[in-house]
């Protein structure tokens, strides 16, 4: 590997979080943007071709070295690292709404989910997956929530636009004019059951 690639590897190994490209460029004042990109490519290639237990991924607004999934079970069994808890269905619903509708207040989230979301919002805030990003207008100027970079990282997204666009979902909202609804309208599956 060239010396820039080695420097990048050293920095990536020193960080538990994704490192933004800007920060990687700051490692070497003489390196052009193209040189950093090509060093990253070299590093990724090296991990893939040479056979390593780790790989280089771009996500969460930056670059991160992660272990390959095929080793997870053995590592966890040997109690050398633990996977984080899975999020509950209710927490995922709340996150999904915030991801698509941010900035959004608690009342609007509750309206879509049909249940109060106070406790879940609190735990998402504590886990750093959402944060207060603004204040709404109107009575009491409600807190508005948005997703954080940690959200992107935990769901392996480079940026929010990687989530499916609304019109790509199989159920796009249609006009619910009853007269125009075909009698044969398919009943969509709520979730694969």
């Amino acid at each position: 590997m060239n010396s820039l690639a080695k420097l990048l590897e050293a920095a990536l190994f020193a960080s538990p979080r994704p490192i933004p490209t800007d920060e990687l460029r700051a490692l070497d004042a003489d390196a052009s943007k193209a040189a950093v990109q090509s060093a990253l490519d070299e590093l990724r290639e090296h991990y893939n071709v040479d056979g390593h237990g780790v790989e280089l991924v771009e996500q969460g607004g930056g670059w991160q070295v992660l272990t390959r999934p095929e080793y997870t079970e053995a590592i966890e069994r040997a109690q050398m690292a633990v996977r984080p808890h899975r999020l509950s269905g209710a927490a995922l619903e709340t996150l999904a709404i915030i991801a698509y509708r941010q900035p959004i207040g608690r009342a609007d989230i509750a309206e879509i989910r049909g249940v109060d979301v106070g406790a879940i919002l609190k735990s998402l805030l504590e886990r750093g997956l959402v944060d207060v990003v603004a204040r709404g207008e109107g009575l009491g100027r409600p807190l508005l929530y948005g997703t954080t970079p940690l959200f992107l990282e935990q769901f392996a997204l480079r940026h929010l636009e990687e989530l499916p666009r609304i019109d790509e979902l199989s159920i796009a909202l249609r006009s619910s004019e009853p007269a125009t609804a075909p009698a044969t309208a398919p009943v969509p599956a709520v979730s694969a059951a």
Binding site: A81, E93, G114, L163, P164, P178
Partner: protein, 246 residues
């Protein structure tokens, strides 16, 4: 599997009751619509409403305020569907329209949840670097802070303090009609109820007030009877007439 429902089967006599937890009334409603194979754009509201109430009963929901609200909504739509339509009336606002919109919106969100669940699971299966060097004291990046940010935080704190007298903003107007609907739905399910069935433990002051006024109003209309057996004991709410909900 991506289903949010954690199913557990319990044998009961000759048939099996599926104990299911739902992520809320919309989740339950969508599951009924799917199970009953009905058209979401043309929901047979009387039938679904009956199923919904039955399911609530079966699941013995304790903290069921959200479900009761949905039950009340369904009952209201059912009543509206029975109103006579005049011939030649061009404009007919389907009372189900708003419910259908919400169901579709919720269903769309469930689809996103499936995506997130898959992505999150992929990520969970990879470990990031855990050990980080304790070099010299980790250098602190310079802070970017504006006074405006600080002031907004001050404002946020002031508003979040739940201390009477700090500020006099009523967060929500009381909603007696909504509370009446909830009580009616509750009494459609069972002959009697208690105060804490109507009001959640963590209810906001406006909710408590709304519920109280609703009970008094319904008692005045002789739809229910309030009784307190001993001082400070739980207030019992008994169905007096077959309410319109039943």
């Amino acid at each position: 599997m991506t289903s949010p429902h954690q199913g557990a089967s319990v044998g009961q006599g000759s048939f099996v009751v599926e104990l299911t937890t739902f992520n809320g009334p919309l989740d339950l409603l969508l599951s009924l619509i799917r199970d009953e194979k009905v058209d979401i754009y043309d929901i047979p509201i009387a039938h679904i409403c009956k199923q919904f109430l039955a399911k609530m009963h079966e699941l013995a929901m304790n903290d069921a305020a959200d479900y009761l609200e949905m039950a009340a909504r369904l009952l209201r739509i059912k009543a509206q569907m029975l109103l006579p339509r005049h011939e030649g009336e061009v404009q007919w606002d389907d009372p189900r329209a708003e419910l259908v919109r919400r169901l579709l919106e919720y269903q769309q969100m469930r689809e996103v949840v499936d995506v997130l669940e898959r992505l999150g699971e992929d990520r969970r299966n990879r470990f990031a670097r855990a050990w980080t060097p304790t070099l010299s004291a980790p250098p602190q990046a310079p802070l970017a802070l504006s006074l405006a940010e600080l002031l907004v935080a001050v404002d946020r704190v002031i508003r979040s303090v739940k201390q009477p007298g700090v500020h006099d903003v009523v967060p929500r107007a009381i909603d007696v009609d909504g509370a009446i609907a909830i009580v009616r739905a509750l009494l459609a399910l069972r002959a009697s109820a208690r105060w804490r069935d109507v009001v959640r433990d963590d209810a906001e002051p406006w909710e408590v007030l709304s519920a109280l006024l609703a009970l008094l109003e319904l008692a005045r209309r002789s739809e229910l009877k309030l009784a307190q057996n001993r001082p400070f004991s739980d207030v019992e709410i008994r169905r007096e007439l077959a309410g319109e909900a039943a």
